[in-house]
C-alpha cells in the first residue's frame, strides 16, 4: 500500500473527500517527522514506537571493494513494533 492508496482508503472508510484525507495523512507524517527531527520519540499505542538513535563515527568497509571508509556520526530512526500489531502479524 502506498500513501495515496492509504489516502483513498481513509477517504472511503470515513466518508470524507480525498483532499481532506490527504491533508490528514500528510499532517500525521509531517508531525511525526518533526518530532523525530527534534530527537523526540513517538509512542503510538497498539502500533509501535519510534525513537532516534545516535551512532558514533566509525571506520567501516565498502563491502564491494573492501576499502576502509570512515563513517561520520549519524542519527537514525528506530521503530519497535507494538504488542497488538506484533500479535496481529502472527495471528494465523
Amino acid at each position: 500500500m502506498t500513501k495515496s492508496e492509504l489516502v483513498e482508503a481513509v477517504a472511503k472508510n470515513r466518508d470524507v473527500s480525498k483532499n481532506q484525507a490527504e491533508s490528514v495523512v500528510n499532517c500525521i507524517f509531517d508531525a511525526m517527522l518533526a518530532a523525530l527531527e527534534h530527537g523526540e520519540g513517538i509512542e503510538l499505542r497498539g502500533f509501535g514506537t519510534f525513537s532516534v538513535r545516535k551512532y558514533n563515527a566509525y571506520n567501516g568497509r565498502n563491502p564491494k571493494s573492501g576499502k576502509v571508509v570512515s563513517v561520520p556520526e549519524k542519527r537514525l530512526p528506530f521503530f519497535r513494533v507494538g504488542k497488538t500489531l506484533k500479535a496481529l502479524l502472527n495471528s494465523e
Binding site: 502506498t2 490528514v24 499532517c27 508531525a31 517527522l33 502500533f47 561520520p72 502479524l89
Partner: protein
C-alpha cells in the same frame, strides 16, 4: 509524542473536523495500516519510510542465561526502513553523499 498530540495537530492544522472526528480519522489511518501489515503487505509512505513485513524461518537460538539451545519458531516481523528524506532530516549537516543509499552509512 503520543497519538493525542497527533490528533491535536490534525484538529488544529487540517481544519473542518471536530476534536472527536480528528481522533476518529487518526485512529482510522493507523487501523488501515495495521490491517494491511497484518495481511503481510507493506506500507510505503513516501517522504517518511516503508513498513515491511518479513517472514522469519524457524531457527535454533540459545537461552542467553543457560546457554541451552532452544528452538525459535517461524514468525513474522515488521521492520521500518526510513526514507532518504527522513535520514536527511535527522542529519542536516551531512552531505547527500554521506547519507546516500549506496554508501556504508546507509546501514
Amino acid at each position: 509524542m503520543t497519538k493525542a498530540e497527533l490528533i491535536d495537530s490534525v484538529y488544529e492544522k487540517v481544519g473542518g473536523f471536530s476534536r472527536k472526528e480528528s481522533a476518529e480519522i487518526v485512529e482510522e489511518v493507523f487501523m488501515i495500516m495495521k490491517e494491511v501489515l497484518a495481511n503481510g503487505s507493506k506500507v510505503k509512505i513516501s517522504g517518511f519510510g516503508n513498513f515491511v513485513v518479513r517472514d522469519k524461518q524457524q531457527r535454533v537460538g540459545r537461552n542467553p542465561q543457560t546457554g541451552r539451545p532452544i528452538e525459535i519458531s517461524a514468525r513474522r516481523v515488521l521492520t521500518f526502513k526510513p526514507s532518504q528524506v527522513l535520514k536527511e532530516v535527522l542529519n542536516p549537516d551531512r552531505t547527500e553523499e554521506d547519507v546516500g543509499e549506496n554508501t556504508l552509512s546507509a546501514f
